[in-house]
C-alpha cells in the first residue's frame, strides 16, 4: 500500500456493537467489524444482499480476535470513487440495514404462528372452492342435442293454437 494510502487509512477502535474497523479512502474501501453474538449470519447476509449492486462486498470471519470474541468482518469497496465522508455514510447505511434486517427477522419470528395459520386457512379455503374442472364434467345423460323434454323449442303459436282449439271444443 502506498504511503498516501496509508495516511488516508483511519483506524477506529470498535465502540459498541457495530464499528468501522478500517476506512481507506484511497482504495475506496471500508471494513466493518460485527460481533457474531449480536448479529446472526442471516442478518449479515440480508444487509450484504442489499448492498451487492452498490459496492463490492466481501465477508470474512475473525475467530477470537483481540477482544476474545469472534467477529464478522464486512469489507465494502465502492464501485466508483468515493470520499472518506461518503464511505463513512455508506458504512452507516450498512449498519442501518443490519438493524432493519434484524428487526424484520424478529417480527417474522414473533408472528410465525399467525403467518402459518393464515397460510393454512388460505390453502384450505382454496382447496374447498369450486374448481374449473368441475364444469368440465362430461357425464353422458343419454340425450341428443335435438331432444327437447321441456318443450322449449315448440313455437308459441303451436302451443297457443292447441290450447285455444281445446278451449273452443269445451265451450
Amino acid at each position: 500500500m502506498a504511503e498516501s494510502a496509508k495516511s488516508a487509512t483511519a483506524k477506529a477502535e470498535a465502540k459498541g456493537d457495530t464499528a468501522i474497523e478500517t476506512l481507506d479512502a484511497a482504495q475506496h474501501r471500508v471494513t466493518l467489524s460485527l460481533e457474531i453474538g449480536l448479529y446472526p449470519i442471516d442478518v449479515v447476509y440480508g444487509a450484504a444482499y442489499v448492498f451487492l449492486d452498490r459496492c463490492y462486498v466481501l465477508l470474512d470471519k475473525q475467530e477470537g480476535g483481540a477482544k476474545g470474541t469472534s467477529r464478522y468482518l464486512v469489507h465494502l469497496r465502492a464501485k466508483g470513487p468515493l470520499s472518506a465522508e461518503q464511505l463513512g455514510a455508506m458504512s452507516g447505511e450498512f449498519s442501518n440495514e443490519l438493524l432493519s434486517q434484524a428487526l424484520r427477522r424478529k417480527i417474522v419470528k414473533a408472528n410465525q404462528k399467525i403467518i402459518e395459520e393464515i397460510t393454512t386457512q388460505a390453502i384450505a379455503g382454496a382447496a374447498g372452492g369450486t374448481l374449473p374442472s368441475d364444469f368440465l364434467d362430461s357425464g353422458d345423460d343419454g340425450m341428443d342435442f335435438l331432444d327437447d323434454p321441456l318443450g322449449i323449442a315448440v313455437p308459441w303459436e303451436d302451443k297457443f293454437k292447441k290450447k285455444k282449439d281445446g278451449e273452443g271444443a269445451d265451450q
Partner: protein, 80 residues
C-alpha cells in the same frame, strides 16, 4: 479485497460464510473472463484466479466475489 490486474490473484473466502457450490457457480459465470481454481485452505476456500481478461471493464475479481456471495445467499434462502 483484491483489485483487478492481469497478474494471478488468490481470493480467500471463509468456508463458514461461502458455499463451495456457489463459488463454483460464480466461477462458471466468469469462465470467459478468467481461469479459476478452487481449493481448500484451512478455514477458507482459496480461489486462484489467473488469465484475467485485461480488456474487460470493471473488476473481474471483485465481481466474482459479489457473485459468489449472491449465489451463497440464494442457496441459503432455498434451504430455509
Amino acid at each position: 479485497m483484491t483489485t483487478t490486474s492481469p497478474t494471478p490473484q488468490t481470493v480467500q473466502l471463509h468456508r463458514a460464510l461461502y458455499m463451495q457450490q456457489a463459488i463454483k457457480e460464480a466461477a462458471e459465470t466468469f469462465a470467459d473472463f478468467a481461469s479459476f481454481k478452487i481449493r481448500r485452505d484451512g478455514a477458507y476456500y482459496a480461489v486462484d484466479i489467473s488469465d484475467i481478461d485485461a480488456d474487460t471493464d470493471g473488476d473481474v475479481v471483485a465481481e466474482f466475489c459479489n457473485f459468489a456471495l449472491h449465489h451463497t445467499i440464494q442457496r441459503k434462502k432455498k434451504r430455509l
